[in-house]
């Protein structure tokens, strides 16, 4: 079973709809036990970094998620679900992220913020990411300390990392569940990893 972690924010059913469409059975849950038993974990998120981390800790989901990742279970972080993998964010100073990856989350300093719309994905590493367009709604993006983790970038008044890969972790700043054929195909490749 794929567990879609429910932190009480965001349109989780759109991710479930996409998985259903791909024929993968999944469950939206905030039950720590179910997350421990999952074969794959998807962590979606919208809203503020601090609020989201608060909810994650309140629901006692931090430890099961970290444990599952350290056990090598496939993990997909989407949008804020990518950002919280890091140590901290400019959005919520003083709030610790999951800290699984080293680096910080920065705010766009130019252009309309949030960035809302379709932007080009430019792969920087051979792997599961292909060139194409994906749908974004974000004001922040993560800068990993280890640049080799960056799998793809997009350009919004300068390049920013939009996809991260490290071992069993895949994380994307855009919304694959809303990125049409490009997003569905990417999700399919993630499921097959």
């Amino acid at each position: 079973m794929i567990c879609i972690v429910d932190c009480g924010t965001g349109n989780l059913s759109s991710i479930k709809n996409a998985l259903d469409f791909l024929g993968a059975s999944s469950k939206i849950t905030s039950n720590p036990g179910e997350i421990q038993e999952a074969r794959m974990i998807i962590l979606p998120g919208v809203g503020a970094f601090g609020y989201f981390m608060g909810r994650l800790r309140e629901k006692k989901l931090e430890i099961p998620i970290k444990k599952a990742i350290s056990e090598g279970k496939p993990f997909l972080g989407i949008c804020l679900g990518l950002q919280v993998l890091f140590e901290e964010s400019q959005e919520s100073k003083g709030v610790r992220g999951l800290g699984i990856l080293k680096g910080r989350v920065m705010r766009f300093t130019q252009g309309k913020v949030p960035q809302i719309g379709w932007n080009k994905i430019i792969p920087t590493n051979p792997g599961i990411f292909e060139e194409g367009f994906a749908y974004y709604v974000n004001s922040y993006y993560a800068e990993p300390a280890d640049r080799t983790l960056i799998a793809a970038v997009s350009n919004y008044y300068g390049d920013f990392p939009c996809a991260i890969r490290q071992g069993n972790i895949t994380a994307v700043q855009f919304h694959p569940e809303k990125s049409g054929k490009y997003g569905l195909e990417l999700m399919k490749r993630v499921l097959e990893c």
Partner: protein, 251 residues
């Protein structure tokens, strides 16, 4: 940089897609789910589903339409029409809409914008403005473009942004359904007055009309209905044309 978006609009009355001229003379054009799927496959960047049912009773069918569309299409879509309060917004978002468009209710109670943006986030609150030229200004009309107000459309757009709107869906009542191009001047003035994205609507008609509103009108997205419903152009035709004109589009 972001691609300019092409957005087919589905006007839905009692669960069926229709399209009228100047907001009247409705003609039936089809099943919302089938049409949404078709446009998604053809390369639509987003969809707008507008419920134009006359009564609140007939509008109750909309969440089910939204649920069905959300299961079949995987691009963002906005739902509007008769949205009165945060409960309506919540219901549509829960059914699977990515954004909700508010028109009359926001004009009558601008506080609804800040309330909804606070609860659901600005990114999913679209303010729909129906504007009609009067002298040198554009006035806001409500109730499906039927009732005039004394509100200046430019001022209203700025106010909506300040209150937390995430996007403006701007329709020219003068041009809507006539197929002679968008109101470039209106779109340009609104686009230059706000920092949030502006979706131009009303009058698409030709490939040049769409290119003009994205280039000269400075819109972030162009919404169209008739040209797609009646097969005058496909979404691919529009995007190829725009690409030739140097507009970045998702192909």
């Amino acid at each position: 940089m972001l691609a300019k978006r092409i957005i087919p609009c589905l006007d839905i009355k009692d669960g069926i897609v229709v399209k009228g001229k100047g907001f009247e003379n409705l003609r039936q054009v089809g099943d919302p789910v089938k049409l949404a799927e078709k446009y998604c496959k053809e390369g639509a960047d987003e969809l707008v589903l507008l419920d134009i049912s006359a009564s609140a009773e007939n509008r109750q069918a909309m969440p089910e339409v939204v649920r069905k569309v959300a299961r079949q299409i995987f691009i963002p879509f906005t739902v509007g029409g008769g949205v009165k309060n945060s409960e309506n917004i919540n219901e549509l978002l829960r059914a699977g809409a990515d954004k909700v468009a508010i028109n009359t209710a926001a004009v009558q109670n601008p506080g609804l914008i800040s309330e909804a943006a606070g609860i659901f986030g600005s990114q999913c609150i679209v303010i729909a403005i129906d504007a009609k030229k009067e002298g040198d200004l554009w006035k806001v009309f409500v109730k499906g473009g039927k009732i005039p107000t004394q509100i200046d459309a430019l001022e209203w757009a700025k106010n909506a942004e300040r209150l937390g709107a995430g996007e403006i869906l701007l329709t020219s009542i003068d041009n809507d359904g006539k197929g002679r191009g968008y109101d470039i001047e209106l779109t340009k003035q609104v686009s230059e007055s706000v920092k949030i994205p502006v979706i131009a609507s009303g009058g698409a008609g030709t490939l040049k009309g769409i290119a003009d509103v994205l280039i000269d009108g400075k819109a972030d997205a162009a919404l169209a209905a008739s040209i797609f419903h009646y097969g005058k152009y496909s979404i691919a035709d529009v995007k190829k044309y725009l690409q030739k004109k140097g507009v970045m589009v998702r192909i």
